[in-house]
């Protein structure tokens, strides 16, 4: 009998992200949502993933529940294999040892370029100013496959980002290599609260791969400010599983600091 699952947009985004990580690989984890994605993944799916944090925590096995706001304390860096510093951390990604990178974003464009810096106006005089790159630029430049986690809000998907904080495919095929970025890197997936996108091999443009069960393609793309390419077959993404929701709600974030959001539902 079909059963209806209720969850938040954030929970769906996190659960989706967690399902993308491969076991026995390395992942460079950004601050915030990516931390929670990695925790959920490691708990349920990929016990042998090795996480790396930009200040040099290698292989942490974070204590649950998640301590909000911070990343560097004893809970989040618990049982690391090694503690180093920032210049060393980015050496691991620069030499090709980081399979995945996972980042949040303020804005993203069809080539997967990320803006985390400002919206509107100019750099010197912006309309709204945000945190900027942090280590996001390094992650997006050097990890083999960058996964972007972003709320599915139309204003976040723009034809051209106001500022390229962290490079996607820049202005198309070959542009990263031409700029001097390492060969064969770039955005791999965009995980949203409604759908999953990849990037077309030939054009390097964002491509809709699958949508949350029950949503139509049109519902997903209608308020994006650019039209993504569509995969030949658009897949269906199941909603968060009972296990995913239990771990998120009971073990990782019992105070609902991160996982709160807009209510959604779908058929299990």
């Amino acid at each position: 009998m079909p059963r209806t699952i209720e969850f938040t947009d954030t929970e769906f985004m996190i659960a989706q992200g967690a399902r993308l990580i491969e076991d026995g690989k390395t992942i460079f984890v950004g601050w915030g949502i990516p931390q929670v994605v990695a925790m959920l993944a490691q708990k349920l799916y990929v016990p042998n993933v090795t996480q790396l944090f930009e200040f040099g925590a290698i292989g942490p096995q974070s204590v649950l529940p998640f301590v909000r706001g911070t990343m560097g304390g004893p809970q989040n860096t618990y049982r690391s294999l090694q503690w180093l510093n920032m210049n060393w951390a980015f050496s691991f990604s620069a030499t090709g040892y980081m399979d995945y990178g996972m980042l949040g974003a303020l804005q993203v464009d069809p080539y997967g370029n990320i803006n985390s810096t400002y919206l509107g106006g100019t750099f010197a005089s912006p309309t709204r100013r945000f945190a900027g790159s942090g280590g996001g630029n390094q992650v997006a430049s050097h990890c083999w496959k960058t996964i972007i986690v972003i709320k599915h809000e139309g204003r976040r998907f723009v034809p051209k980002v106001d500022f390229i904080t962290s490079p996607g495919y820049l202005d198309g095929p070959g542009a990263r290599e031409k700029a001097g970025l390492p060969r064969g890197t770039g955005p791999h997936r965009v995980v949203t609260s409604k759908a999953l996108f990849g990037f077309d091999e030939a054009s390097r443009k964002m491509t809709l791969l699958s949508v949350l069960r029950g949503l139509s393609v049109e519902e997903v793309v209608k308020d994006m400010a650019f039209r993504p390419l569509l995969a030949h077959e658009i897949g269906e993404i199941p909603p968060p599983t009972d296990d995913e929701l239990r771990v998120l709600r009971e073990e990782i974030d019992p105070d609902r600091f991160i996982i709160r959001g807009e209510k959604m539902s779908a058929t299990a």
Binding site: E54, T117, R128, R129, G132, S133, A179
Partner: protein, 325 residues
């Protein structure tokens, strides 16, 4: 000082010191003699932080940040500071709100929209170097070279709003990014243990503790605990910074408050939430008055604004000590 420290390229101002100028400062102004340097925070900040200085610190606002030194800078109403900001979540808003900082190199600009609004209002100028670029600039300063190369930043707009340059690598023929060395005027390091000479130990990860100490004109260490020099000699692998890089040592228990000191005390999340909730100058003014201007020093702040009970509770919560020793 007669040393040229600020450069401009187009719209961009950036700190740059010729490595030879920095070396001569080290030769003439840094002592290698092992002498006691234990002073109060008031003395250290008065002696070693000047208006217009460029300041760096690690780790973050929430973990092992030099919070008591930052508060002392605000209390002494330093002006025109330039901050190298990586994980400075709430120091940036405080320093800007208090009228101390007018330029920030990021890194990561910090929490909440108070600081974002200050940028929009033009009260503070921001330059983008990214976390990796800023850490690399400090490493260049620490290695005594004028620049270091990297293969990130390339292709991004950070190149346009920093003084990073693209050159053609003579070995591969490919473009490579150079970032100029950064030799800050002052580095603040809050550490687990120090001796009176300046030898210091940090447990856990760091951003660029040794790098910043080597690269900076002046180094102020604040320490949770003062230990004997002999302890360093018994366990040289645990030393983070050797004494001769350090200009002043401040004994500062709970110096990272309201952030955590790993294995010593936990974050005071309620206090941090108050900081993060600040939206207006009025709120900022009230916070600064209550927590900084109205108390004489860090000890009085702890006694009268935090309280022994709260400190006990935060110590009690620091249950993970494994690996921090």
């Amino acid at each position: 000082m007669t040393i040229d420290r600020i450069r401009t390229e187009g719209e961009i101002e950036y700190r740059f010191t010729h490595p030879d100028d920095f070396r001569e400062h080290v030769r003439d102004r840094k002592g290698r003699s092992p002498v006691p340097k234990l002073v109060t925070a008031k003395e250290a900040v008065a002696a070693f932080v000047s208006d217009g200085d460029y300041i760096v610190y690690d780790f973050s606002s929430l973990t092992r940040g030099p919070q008591s030194l930052i508060r002392e800078v605000i209390r002494q109403r330093k002006k025109e500071l330039w901050i190298g900001a990586e994980f400075t979540l709430h120091e940036s808003p405080m320093l800007v709100g208090a009228g101390c900082a007018t330029r920030i190199d990021v890194g990561f600009l910090g929490y909440g929209n108070y600081i974002g609004q200050a940028v929009c209002d033009g009260r503070v100028k921001v330059y983008e170097w990214t976390n990796g670029g800023l850490a690399l600039r400090i490493l260049a300063g620490a290695r005594g070279v004028p620049f270091l190369p990297t293969r990130d930043m390339l292709g991004s707009d950070n190149m346009e709003v920093s003084a990073a340059k693209t050159i053609t690598d003579p070995y591969t023929g490919d473009p490579v990014c150079l970032v100029p060395a950064l030799n800050p005027d002052v580095a603040f390091l809050h550490v687990h243990q120090a001796d009176v000479l300046g030898n210091a130990r940090i447990f856990g990860t760091n951003l660029f503790a040794l790098e910043a100490a080597l690269a900076s004109f002046r180094v102020i260490v604040s320490a949770e605990e003062i230990i004997e020099t002999d302890e360093f000699r018994k366990d040289p692998m645990r030393t983070t910074v050797p004494y001769f890089l350090v200009d002043a040592v401040v004994h500062a228990p709970f110096g990272a408050y309201p952030g955590a000191m790993p294995a010593r005390y936990e974050i005071d999340l309620e206090h941090v939430d108050r900081l993060n909730a600040i939206r207006t100058d009025e709120q900022m003014g009230k916070y600064l008055e209550e927590n900084i201007y109205s108390v004489a020093d860090h000890e009085e702040f702890l006694d009268r604004r935090v309280g022994a009970k709260r400190m006990r509770e935060l110590r009690r919560r620091a249950t993970i000590t494994e690996g921090y020793r």
